[in-house]
């Protein structure tokens, strides 16, 4: 059988990591194709419902990456993200999701190489952990479905 190809979602901020990933491209540094990026204005925007949503829909791993401390385009967004991550990690432990499935990192607009490393390391790590199904099994699909979070 062919090797397990993990599905990984990257939630990145527009100003540092997205630009960093662009630089990875312009510098033609190769990395694993398992990762797809979703752009946010700032890591501060990423609440953990979104992360849960990703797991629910079959993500095997997640990368959350933004500006380095003190470099946030909005000055403090990434600090909120960091605090939220600490809380979320406990929630993950509680709900039995390996914390290794989420990679939280700072990648600046100048760190094309670092982005490639972050991706490759995460892919490798998640590949070892194997596919992630538990959540889909237990998740009450309606609970987090789009309608559920729809404000209208």
């Amino acid at each position: 059988m062919q090797e397990f190809e993990p599905k990984i979602v990257a939630f990145v901020c527009n100003w540092c990591t997205y630009a960093g990933a662009d630089l990875t491209g312009t510098s033609r540094i190769k990395y694993a194709a398992n990762v797809k990026i979703i752009r946010f204005p700032c890591t501060g925007r990423i609440d953990f419902m979104i992360l849960m949503k990703a797991f629910e829909n079959g993500a095997d791993g997640i990368i959350v990456s933004g500006c380095h401390p003190n470099d946030c385009h909005y000055s403090t967004g990434n600090f909120h993200a960091r605090r939220r991550w600490i809380v979320f990690r406990n929630l993950m432990n509680f709900s039995g999701i390996e914390t290794d499935r989420i990679q939280f990192s700072w990648v600046s607009a100048a760190e094309g190489f670092k982005w490639a490393d972050v991706v490759n390391n995460t892919v490798a790590k998640v590949r070892e952990l194997g596919p992630y199904e538990n959540y889909r099994k237990i998740a009450v699909s309606s609970l987090f479905s789009a309608e559920g979070t729809n404000n209208e």
Partner: protein
């Protein structure tokens, strides 16, 4: 930075040097601060910074020159170059490397004979007694170099001052020391 960026190429000479000594010769930008501070640079055929340049060329000819040079034997390992090098290049380690290379390639500069003989006598003394037996060393050294009269003047004075030990101190573990020498000798083979 990704690993692909600092891969070592043992195929090249500088790659080899990097593997053996950890020194990246291409880091040197020839500022010459090492040569400026080197206590023996004025006596060297190739001052430290020039040695670096010659290694950078990757030319076998230059390496040849270095192995046959006086510089590598005049270096007193005072570490001044390393201390002041803006690129923190470990030139002393490089010198050790070149000396040993020169020895094993049997290319040592004839004028360095005295220096090398001294080192040899020194090591022999350790090999036989486990320690340095100065009197023995001097005698042995004189036998090797034939520099009979050198320093004979001060010898008696040293003797009087109790600075020369007539009998060698021989340590109990001298066999162990000899064993160490043998093992390394075999390694070398």
């Amino acid at each position: 930075m990704s690993a692909s960026h600092d891969t070592v190429h043992p195929t090249t000479q500088s790659g080899q040097i990097r593997m053996d000594t950890g020194v990246i010769v291409n880091k040197c930008y020839q500022c010459g601060k090492c040569s400026a501070g080197c206590p023996v640079a004025s006596e060297m055929d190739y001052p430290p910074s020039l040695v670096m340049r010659m290694l950078q060329t990757e030319e076998p000819v230059q390496m040849e020159k270095l192995l046959k040079s006086m510089s590598i034997w005049l270096c007193v390992s005072c570490e001044m170059c390393l201390t002041r090098c803006p690129m923190e290049i470990d030139i002393p380690a490089l010198m050790d490397h070149l000396r040993q290379k020169s020895l094993s390639a049997k290319k040592t500069n004839p004028q360095a004979r005295k220096i090398i003989s001294f080192h040899k006598s020194f090591l022999d003394s350790i090999n036989y007694t486990g320690r340095l037996y100065e009197m023995g060393l001097i005698v042995d050294y004189k036998m090797r170099t034939g520099a009979m009269i050198q320093d004979v003047a001060i010898a008696p004075k040293m003797f009087v001052k109790g600075k020369l030990n007539p009998v060698p101190e021989i340590i109990k573990g001298r066999k162990k020391i000899a064993a160490i020498f043998n093992r390394i000798h075999k390694e070398g083979k």
